[in-house]
C-alpha cells in the first residue's frame, strides 16, 4: 500500500530521517513509534508532501509521491490527519467537514456528511457550532471525520492521543480500529503513546534519532521488554 524506501529528510544541516524504509500494508494499522525528536512528524510530513525528502522513494499503490504537492494527496486517496489542533477553529463543524469533502474534487455529497455525522454523533449534534467551541476529544473526532469526507483509502494519523484523557484516547483508537475493520481503510499511525498505539496496531515501527531500530508485528514489539524500556517508555 505505502512503501518508503531509504528515505532521508532534514532541515538545513539537521538530518531528521536517515535511510528509513518501512511498509504500511493494506487494511492494517501500522504504528510509527518513538520519542520526541525521533523523526515521526517529519516522516508524516514528508509522505504527505509538506516536506521534501532529500533522497529515497515513497510509493503509494504504484504512484510515486516524492514530488507530489500536498494539495494533490486527497485526490490520490491519502488523507493526512493533523492532530486536533488542525481543526480550523474559525469555521463551523459542518464547514470543516465540507472542506474535507471538497478535497476529492467536485461537490460535497450529503450522504458523506450524513455518514460522518453518524460515525461521530457528537459532531452531528453540533454541526452549526464554531469548531473553537469543541473540546480536545471532539476536535480529534472532527479532524478524523473531516479526512473521511474525502473517502480516502489510507489515513495518516498524527498523534491522535496528544493531550487527551485515556478514556477519550481509547474511544478514538477503538473507532479507528472499527473503520479499518468495516471499511478496509489502511492507517499509518504516528504516536508517542506507544502502549495505546500497540494495543490497536497490527504492525509497529520504532524510530530513534531518525533511524528505524525495530520493525515487527505489534504484539511482538509489546512483548520485547528491552526494546520497550529503551525506546518506548513503558
Amino acid at each position: 500500500m505505502l512503501t518508503l524506501t531509504s528515505l532521508t529528510a532534514g532541515y538545513g544541516p539537521v538530518t531528521a530521517l536517515e535511510d528509513v524504509s518501512l511498509t504500511a500494508r493494506k487494511g492494517e494499522i501500522t504504528a510509527v513509534l518513538g520519542a520526541n525528536g525521533a523523526g515521526k512528524t517529519t516522516l508524516l510530513r514528508t509522505v504527505s508532501g509538506l516536506h521534501r525528502a532529500r533522497s529515497g522513494a515513497i510509493d503509494f499503490d504504484g504512484t510515486r509521491l516524492e514530488s507530489v504537492a500536498a494539495e494533490k494527496m486527497p485526490r490520490l486517496g491519502l488523507a493526512h490527519v493533523p492532530e486536533g489542533r488542525g481543526v480550523i477553529t474559525e469555521l463551523t463543524v459542518e464547514e470543516n467537514l465540507r472542506l474535507g469533502g471538497l478535497g476529492r474534487g467536485g461537490r460535497v455529497s450529503a450522504s458523506d456528511l450524513e455518514r460522518v455525522n453518524d460515525l461521530f454523533p457528537i459532531l452531528g449534534d453540533r454541526n452549526a457550532a464554531l469548531a473553537s467551541t469543541l473540546s480536545g476529544g471532539e476536535r480529534q473526532m472532527l479532524v478524523i471525520g473531516r479526512a473521511l469526507m474525502a473517502r480516502p483509502t489510507m489515513l495518516l494519523l498524527d498523534e491522535p492521543s496528544l493531550g487527551l484523557a485515556p478514556r477519550i484516547v481509547a474511544q478514538i483508537f477503538g473507532l479507528v480500529r472499527t473503520l479499518v475493520r468495516d471499511e478496509g481503510l489502511s492507517v499509518l499511525l504516528v504516536e508517542q503513546n506507544a502502549r495505546s498505539a500497540l494495543s490497536v496496531a497490527d504492525h509497529g515501527v520504532v524510530l530513534n534519532l531518525g533511524r528505524v531500530v525495530a520493525d515487527a508485528p505489534a504484539d511482538e514489539l509489546a512483548g520485547d521488554d528491552q526494546l520497550r524500556h529503551a525506546y518506548l517508555g513503558f
Partner: protein, 292 residues
C-alpha cells in the same frame, strides 16, 4: 434639525466609501497578514483606466466596468509577481514591497496619465434630492454610492458564506497548512483574494472620483481614513470594516459640520486612539479562542 439630518446623510455616504476602502484592506490582511499600502494607488490607477475609456467617448458604465476588471487583473498580477516571491518570509518583507509599490504606481500614473488634475464624471445628478419640499444632502450619486457598496458587500458575504470557493478562501486565510492537506490550492486562493480586494478598492476609487477631480495622488487622503476604519473594526472582520467605515464617516461629518472642517484629520486620529486604548483589538475583535 435639518442640519443634523443632512450632516448625518453626508457622513453616511462618506462612510460607505471608507467602508469599501477598509474592506479592501481587510480582505488582504485576513488572508495574508499584510497591510497593503499600495491599495490607494492601485485604486487610483484603475480609476484612470476608467477615465481613459470615458474620455475616448464610451459611456460611464463601460469605464466603470473597465476599472473593476482592470482592478481584478492588477490585484492578481501584483500578488503573483510582487508578493509571491516573499511568501512564507516575515510579513514585513511584503509590507515594505507594498510601500515601494505605492511609490512606483504613483510615478507610473504621473508618467502615463500626467501629473495634473482631471475631472471625472458622475453617472447620476449631483443635485440634492428633494423630500417633501426640502432639498436634502443626498444626491443621486450618493444613493448610487451607498447601494453599490452594499451590493458588493452582499456579494462578498454570499461568496464567503455560501460557495465552495469562499469556503476554500476562508480555510486558506485561517490555516494555510491544514487547507493544503485538505486539497485547497492555497496559492490560487491568495491570488483570488488579492484580486477581489483590488476590485473593492477600485470601487472605492471610482466612488471618490465621481463628480470630482482625479490626480495621481487623489486617493492618498482616503488612505488614512480607510486605515482608521479598518482598525476600528478590528482589521480581521469584513463586517467590522463596514461598521468602522460608517462610524468614521458619520463622526467626521459631524466634526466637519459642527466643529470645523480643518479638524477632520485630527478627529480621525483621536477616534483611532480612543478605540485602540479602550478596545485594542478593534470593535469587532472576536473572543479569544478556547485553548485545549
Amino acid at each position: 434639525m435639518q442640519q443634523f439630518f443632512n450632516t448625518a446623510l453626508t457622513g453616511l455616504t462618506l462612510g460607505m466609501v471608507y467602508a469599501a476602502f477598509a474592506l479592501a484592506l481587510v480582505l488582504i490582511w485576513r488572508s495574508t497578514r499584510i497591510v497593503n499600502f499600495a491599495q490607494a494607488p492601485m485604486a487610483m490607477l484603475t480609476t484612470f483606466v476608467a477615465l481613459v475609456v470615458i474620455d475616448a467617448g464610451y459611456s460611464y458604465w463601460l469605464g466603470f466596468v473597465a476599472a473593476l476588471v482592470s482592478g481584478l487583473v492588477l490585484g492578481a498580477v501584483i500578488e503573483r509577481v510582487v508578493i509571491r516571491p516573499v511568501e512564507g518570509k516575515a510579513e514585513i518583507n511584503a509590507v515594505i514591497l507594498t510601500l515601494g509599490l505605492f511609490i512606483v504606481l504613483h510615478g507610473l500614473a504621473a508618467v502615463i496619465f500626467g501629473n495634473r488634475y482631471r475631472s471625472f464624471p458622475a453617472p447620476f445628478g449631483l443635485e440634492g434630492l428633494t423630500v417633501g419640499g426640502t432639498t436634502i444632502a443626498l444626491n443621486g450619486f450618493g444613493v448610487f454610492t451607498i447601494v453599490s457598496v452594499l451590493v458588493v458587500m452582499g456579494l462578498l458575504v454570499a461568496l464567503f458564506r455560501y460557495t465552495d470557493v469562499g469556503l476554500r478562501m476562508r480555510a486558506s486565510a485561517f490555516n494555510q497548512e491544514v487547507a493544503r492537506l485538505l486539497g485547497v490550492k492555497v496559492g490560487a486562493m491568495l491570488t483570488l483574494g488579492w484580486a477581489l480586494a483590488s476590485v473593492v478598492g477600485s470601487l472605492a476609487g471610482l466612488l471618490i472620483a465621481g463628480g470630482s477631480l482625479v490626480h495621481p495622488s487623489y486617493m492618498d487622503s482616503v488612505v488614512v481614513f480607510g486605515f482608521v476604519a479598518a482598525v476600528l473594526g478590528g482589521l480581521d472582520s469584513p463586517l467590522g470594516a463596514v461598521v468602522g467605515g460608517l462610524i468614521l464617516g458619520v463622526s467626521l461629518s459631524f466634526v466637519s459640520g459642527y466643529v470645523g472642517s480643518q479638524l477632520v484629520a485630527l478627529a480621525a486620529l483621536v477616534i483611532l486612539m480612543l478605540v485602540l486604548t479602550l478596545k485594542p483589538g478593534g470593535l469587532f475583535a472576536q473572543a479569544p479562542e478556547r485553548r485545549v
